[in-house]
């Protein structure tokens, strides 16, 4: 296939949909490392022009990894509702962008075309959108999901409390939980990353967080982010889990690197529906992040944004309660600096919401990337404006177990104040009951972890 832009000049010809998609991407070190990025800004814009004129049907018929080779492609293709697709297949990607940004288009109008979209179409339109386009359209979409409580409702902004400890010390994990709750964080989930991926540790963490939630009657949900098979074993032996977690990749070989496939995820979903301690119906939690496939040599020559979109296509199969990109964790060889991290964060939340999944973000950075706390605070402000469902928060922004920085518990209170938002209704009422919230904001007692001792 040869694809040409309307005002063709030398160098404006591309050989494949995969090539156009890769070269139309905003600059990312991961695409450069993979050797598939545009070689100049002129070539990048030429690719964007070629993509703007491409019909959605072309994207449907040319999935970036062939269906025969890849079960993620099959999941995405099988989920398309054909009559809706037939209505929009002649649109160009530029038409799709202009439909999404139109003032007449709201949540209802976006929902009307959603079942006709594939992950490749969503990736394509993302590449044509500016940062403000992404914020604008994300802010139109209201995607709610319910586990024990409901996230994503208008006027709310939720937070995952991440009380990790470098020794999986239960007392320390519960103390960090106390601290986070004292700041009003934790309505999305109390989710712990264990150091040791064993059934024993997973069970201990699930029991401790479950017991604490019961003791203090906190309207939220717990989760231990070990490998899905570890959680499944723990749950089968009776461990109390409200959610089942797994990291996802956008290709079959990428998921193989993570030790999962669609059959296993189906089994996990089925088990979660029957055995989770929550009332549901949404009981799955996934994390993703641009660059994971390249890092596992499972990218098939496809750019990292398109592969990220396919993660959401896969996630959608399981009606997740929470999905978040861990956007600055992977390192500077994939996302180089604050600018690339911010761009990727906006792209990921937009793409997730356009897939119709309850999307949040771990806005974060490691110490070898060219970013600092200011960059992720910028991203948090942009995504709060965009109406993301939730953020990850850790004590003072410093996760001493995963050795990276994310948003602080303090950021929750600041974002509620700036944007006049609140936690989920039952959680807010609980905060009032324990004396931490009144008149739409935290009380003087807030921030004191000894309240829960």
């Amino acid at each position: 296939m040869s694809i040409q832009t309307t005002n063709a000049s030398a160098g404006d010809r591309f050989d494949s949909v995969v090539e156009v998609l890769a070269k139309a991407n905003e600059p990312k070190t991961g695409d450069e490392l993979a050797g598939i990025a545009a070689e100049s800004d002129a070539e990048r814009v030429a690719a964007k022009r070629a993509l703007a004129g491409m019909r959605l049907e072309t994207l449907r018929e040319n999935p970036v990894v062939p269906s025969e080779e890849d079960e993620v492609t099959q999941v995405i293709q099988d989920a398309v509702r054909e009559p809706i697709y037939d209505e929009i297949k002649d649109w160009t990607v530029a038409d799709l962008r202009e439909y999404l940004v139109a003032s007449e288009t709201g949540d209802h109008e976006i929902a009307a075309i959603r079942p006709g979209l594939t992950s490749e179409m969503i990736a394509a339109v993302t590449k044509l959108m500016s940062n403000m386009d992404l914020v604008l359209v994300t802010s139109k979409m209201e995607i709610t999901a319910r586990c024990n409580t409901t996230v994503g409702e208008d006027g709310t902004l939720s937070f995952r409390l991440q009380p990790n400890d470098p020794a999986d010390d239960i007392d320390n994990i519960i103390d960090a939980t106390r601290e986070g709750l004292a700041y009003g964080a934790g309505d999305a989930v109390i989710g712990v990353n264990p150091v040791t991926d064993t059934v024993e540790t997973t069970t201990r963490i699930l029991e401790a967080t479950h017991d604490f939630i019961e003791e203090w009657d906190v309207p939220t949900q717990n989760c231990c982010l070990s490998h899905v098979t570890t959680q499944m074993d723990a749950i089968r032996e009776g461990a109390p889990a409200d959610l089942v977690f797994q990291s996802l990749a956008g290709t079959e070989t990428g998921n193989d690197e993570f030790g999962v496939d669609v059959d296993l995820l189906d089994e996990a979903y089925d088990l979660a529906q029957r055995r989770c301690t929550s009332s549901g119906p949404n009981v799955m939690y996934f994390e993703t992040g641009q660059g994971a496939e390249l890092s596992g040599d499972a990218h098939h020559g496809v750019d990292q944004l398109t592969l990220e979109a396919r993660c959401y296509g896969l996630a959608k199969r399981y009606d997740p309660f929470l999905v978040n990109t861990v956007v600055g964790f992977i390192g500077p060889e994939y996302l180089y600096d604050g600018q690339q991290v911010i761009r990727a964060g906006l792209e990921d939340v937009f793409m997730g919401q356009l897939h119709g999944i309850s999307m949040g973000i771990d806005a974060c950075y490691t110490n070898h990337i060219q970013a600092d706390q200011n960059d992720i605070e910028n991203l948090a402000v942009l995504l709060a404006a965009a109406g993301t469902n939730y953020f990850i928060t850790v004590p003072m922004g410093d996760d001493v177990m995963l050795n990276y920085q994310s948003n602080s518990y303090h950021d929750a209170a600041a974002l509620w104040e700036i944007f006049d938002l609140e936690p989920t209704a039952p959680f807010r009422e609980w905060l009032v009951d324990v004396g931490l919230w009144e008149n739409g904001r935290l009380t003087d007692r807030a921030g004191d972890p000894t309240i829960f001792t």
Binding site: A176, M396, A413, D448
Partner: protein, 262 residues
């Protein structure tokens, strides 16, 4: 608004509520003292206090400096290491292009061939990696123990080298060029906020370019607050001896679930 009213953890009250405050302060101290996490930091309105904000930035600054500063040249001379460099031009490129950090620059390849002993039992490599601070803090002590320990067992260490802008797998290229039986690469790890001094030792038996990570062994978290460098040196001597005897490393040597982070 009086800023004091929002600062939760000042022991500011006396009188009727004094006992309650004492009990709270004690409970808070118990929480803060036993955890490495930044708990009980208090707040100024919805934001961190100035002191805890600046402490975070100071710790991040130390970590950044460890990534961006270079290892002191006189240290490399004092340790009598042959100086080599990868194909990386500067720190920015080092961070973005791990592939270039695994191969020596042409002139360094020539230096390697000209100045380093051929076919040693063990080729010792020191790489700056992601923390020059880690190299400076640990390598002098560790290297002395490692050299002496290997010499005691009649294991030939050849000509130890220092690699600027080196990644873990640069040991594959160096070992292959010199036809070493095995390699030890001492690499500065990605700094955390608690310490920028963590070093790791990666080992490979039968080094050759492109050998998968699973074929390599690692001893990590080497620093005074973790595995002290002298102890790490002694552990490395034992591990090298075992590798040479069993002609294997990584999963071929034992079940090894340690993480590879560089």
């Amino acid at each position: 608004m009086a800023s004091d009213s929002n600062r939760t953890h000042d022991a500011d009250s006396t009188g009727k509520s004094g006992q309650v405050d004492d009990r709270r302060d004690e409970a808070l101290r118990r929480i803060v003292d036993r955890t490495p996490t930044r708990l009980g930091v208090g707040r100024a309105g919805p934001r961190p206090t100035t002191a805890s904000l600046l402490e975070l930035r100071a710790d991040h600054g130390l970590a950044r400096d460890a990534v961006h500063s270079r290892v002191d040249e006189t240290l490399v001379d004092d340790l009598e290491l042959v100086k080599l460099r990868t194909q990386v031009a500067d720190t920015d490129q080092y961070l973005a292009r791990p592939d270039l950090g695994r191969e020596l620059a042409d002139e360094s390849l020539e230096t390697l061939r000209a100045e380093c002993a051929h076919a040693p039992d063990v080729q010792i490599i020191v790489s700056d990696g992601l923390s020059s601070t880690a190299v400076e803090a640990n390598v002098p002590e560790l290297l002395a123990v490692l050299r002496d320990g290997l010499a005691d067992r009649d294991i030939d260490v050849g000509t130890p080298v220092f690699v600027e802008y080196g990644r873990v797998d640069v040991m594959d290229a160096i070992g292959e060029e010199l036809e070493a039986d095995c390699c030890v690469n001492l690499v500065g790890e990605r700094p955390g906020l608690r310490t920028a001094e963590s070093l790791s030792a990666y080992l490979v038996y039968g080094p050759e370019r492109g050998l998968p990570t699973a074929k390599k062994s690692v001893i990590s978290n080497i620093h005074d607050g973790g595995l002290p460098p002298v102890e790490a040196g002694a552990e490395l001597v034992d591990l090298v001896a075992e590798m040479l005897e069993r002609e294997a490393s990584g999963i071929d040597l034992r079940d090894d679930d340690r993480e590879f982070t560089t």
